[in-house]
Amino acid sequence: MSNLEIKNLNVSINGTQILKDFSLTVPKGEVHAIMGPNGTGKSTLAKALAGHEDYEITGGEVFLDGEQIVGKEPDEISRAGLFMAFQYPSEIPGVTIANFIRAALTARLEEGETFKAPAFYKELYEKMDLLKIDRSFTSRSVNEGFSGGEKKRCEILQMAMLKPGYAVLDETDSGLDIDALKVVADGVNQMRGPELGVLLITHYQRLLNYIVPDKVHVMFDGRIVQSGGPELAEKLEAEGYDWVKEAAPAGAGA
């Protein structure tokens, strides 16, 4: 049961249904990519999994290593081991990156455990070096005045420090030039392994050249319409999304 299992998830925003009996299983240790045209519900999936209150789950279940997370608060879901890398991370004035990550780690301490600052800074600096983030960033306010690439690297830094069991990367490639994309992809690749399951949400195949997925799923109109290996991404790159719409089951996207 080491997996992220999404079963028949139905999600609405302001009464409009976006996800329709969405089902998908990501085993721990694998990287799955979800691709699909704009407006098909990819980001809705990410926000709903993270427990955002504006995304109403009207039906279905989500299990994190067998633990139901539907109905839990966003902070509980995070501490249960699901990490979300935001497409548009918020800027938090006056809160430094170091303090922000420290608060997130402190929230994960078991009773009786204490936070160990020297070990924290040692690890933080190592991870920052790896992600080519200047060490002076620790004392900068979270995302404030960051470039697009800096914001995304900061997301991956947080992921590296929090060590989640599963990560949902929502359009992590958007707004990145090729160099920034490579740095971000390197960071994710370094974390790949038997202890991490990844769900990559992307519109473009480009990211998948650098983070090669185990499985690719094509999403359309709120559900998965086709699954396959990395070659599926190449087909999408070559042929676009039109064939997906035609291949979708009757009634979908109408």
């Binding site: 608060e73 966003p74 902070d75 918020s90 006056g94 809160v95 922000f100 997130a104 929230a107």
Partner: protein, 444 residues
Amino acid sequence: MSDTLAIENPSLEDPKIFQFHQEQAGLEVDWFKQAQQAAWARYLELPLPVRTNEKWRFANLSRLRDTGRFQPAGGELSQVTVDRIVKASHRFKEVAGRIILADETLAAPVELDPELGKKGIIFTTLTDAIVKYPELVQKYFMQQSPELGSEKFEALHVAMLRNGVFLHVPDNVEVDRPFVIYNWTVRDKGAIFPHTLFVAGKHAKATLIEFQESASPGTEHLVVANAHLFADDGAQPNHTIVQNWNQNTLSLQLNTNNAWSDTNAKSTLINVGSAQARQEVHGKIFGSGSNVEMYALNVPTENQEFDQRTLQTHIAPNSRSDLLFKNALIGKSRTIFSGLIIVEEDAQQTDAYQTNNNLMLSEEAEANSLPGLEIKANDVKCSHGATTGRINDSELFYFLARGIPRNKAQELMVFGYFEEIVEKLDNQELADYVREVVQHKFMD
């Protein structure tokens, strides 16, 4: 060090209170006695504030109308209390000087680094300064007034004031370590009238930090305090008041910051205490090339009311003033910010800014903001603005999505919101202390 009273202290309502109080103080300096007499006459003459007066708009006046029952503090305190106060008056590893006043009486001898004394720095109680340096004190004492509505209370302050602090830094003397004042209220129903006079000579640089506290949480107090800052040409004074009277205190703080040419004058108010705190700050810029900064960090909770009125008056050209007052409101608390920038006809090339931000952390809190400009010169850069907002939902979600619980997230966001002011304090120990008192407000 202190007076022993043969009879019970009379209250402010007692017709003989003034005479009694002045005799008690026993200060035989004519100009000062006359100033007090004139102030008492003015106090009796002036009317109580009314809500129809723009300067008191939105203010809760009921407490201000009911001050007669307070007794001007005086008399001896028990050694146990004094020891406890002295022990608690220790927030910095190294200071330039320290004065601890409990109910306007020295709780410990005045401390001043002897090396600084040799450089001509005067740091002593106001009464001591009036006796030892009468002409120097007279040159500054009550020469400026905020002129923001509390004239009656200002008169009461002068008539009743019994102690305070005089800090005089002579020309060209720079001091890095802070001068620190601890002002404590002790006796129930006690009224105190602390007066701070901070004079920075030409090209002098110094920091004065004032802590206002109560020895216990349950006593009731009236505080009418004054603080006046004088910055001569090229001076760089930095003055911070941490207002943390207990929550049964009615406090008034009436301040002026007076800047001549090429100064860098900074004043900061940190407000956490009092049931009701009325504060008036008037920044007056008499010289060119000056930069006058006025900041406030306010965290009212429960039923607290913080009422702040400010003036930035540019009299000379080519100077800058910057005011930033930030509130985070919790519970049923109320704030009033009324600020005015006045640019006189001759004050061309003025840069003046005024900002009031309100972060509403409860549905029941109320923030009133009245920013204003009055510009008589034609070549100036001025802006004023007020914002009122709640915690940003997407920022909050970002914290939650990292596993940080809601209350901790809110606390961090408020810290972040205030960091803009805290970092301007320019003193790590003070910044840490301020963060700590803000955090305490969240745990209450």
